[in-house]
Assembly symmetry: C2
Homo-oligomer: 141 residues x 2
DNA sequence: ATATTAAAAGACTTATTTGTCTTTTAATGG
DNA sequence: CCATTAAAAGACAAATAAGTCTTTTAATAT
């Protein structure tokens, strides 16, 4: 479904949503250790997210990564798009070049219905809402 | 979602379901040309499917690949399992080692519903039923 | 039997993804 | 201003997926 980069990105953003803010930034090391993912690989992913303005970063002592109000009120779908591109959700399940309601592949109906569900959730739920649920239900990242 | 091998495999099996039977076998070349996929790559995939008894094959002149009654009454899920393995449907969307209803990742509820739908369809619909629909609705492969 | 046909098997190359390491740039505190 | 800290940038390396090519094996028809 998602590439590893994308999975790491989602988890990192949610981690930042729960643990960071303007006044308490977090370094790559802490995030990588907490999520148990390769540090340098995660660093590149965070750079990319920062470049796409999905997270904020500051260099130097007491620097690190964090989410602003704007970031935390966005939806996760942007993170997915920036890592795996928009085809993730729109491309045909069987890899056919043309596949739509007009011209459906044999699995189009099923794929469409169920993918719409995930897209809807990812689009209409803010990162903040997700973060709140993570804290409330003590979910693991 | 699926690897390319798996996509090619599904399409090839459906192609065989529509066009082949015990008395009219089909060669790799014809399938590869029809589906517009790399011939030698598809050959390896068909070999693997044959080894797993998901399709039948006969060597020599008038040989080729085909589906028996048994094959055509099976479900597509076996094809997916044989190409991409069972983790495809069971593993966590975020790649967490433990993720279940007891111990859900932040996207577990959404992901679960989505995937169960596709699994259900792939499990409870026979290849024959799919093939009939493909012919009836003139769907592309 | 033997020549022909087509799948099976296996070696190999290429591309992509994932992961590592080093150097550079920018912010901060002394 | 300068040492320190941490992200940014970029060069590599490893692992996996995708694709190609050649040789071997088995079935068939002449």
């Amino acid at each position: 479904m998602f590439s590893k980069s994308c999975k790491y990105a989602i988890r990192a953003v949610l981690y930042l949503a729960v643990h960071s803010d303007e006044s308490s930034k977090i370094g790559v090391k802490e995030i990588a250790d907490s999520l148990e993912v390769p540090k340098h690989f995660l660093a590149k992913i965070l750079q990319q997210l920062a470049k796409h303005n999905l997270i904020a970063s500051i260099k130097g002592p007491s620097g690190g990564f964090f989410l602003t109000e704007t970031h935390i009120n966005a939806s996760l779908i942007q993170v997915v798009y920036s890592m795996d591109g928009p085809e993730m959700f729109s491309s045909c399940l069987l890899g056919l070049p043309v596949c739509s309601s007009d011209n459906p592949c044999p699995l189009h109906v099923q794929a469409f219905a169920y993918r719409e569900g995930i897209i809807y959730q990812m689009k209409h739920q803010t990162i903040k809402e997700l973060a709140n649920r993570i804290e409330r239900e003590e979910l693991k990242l």
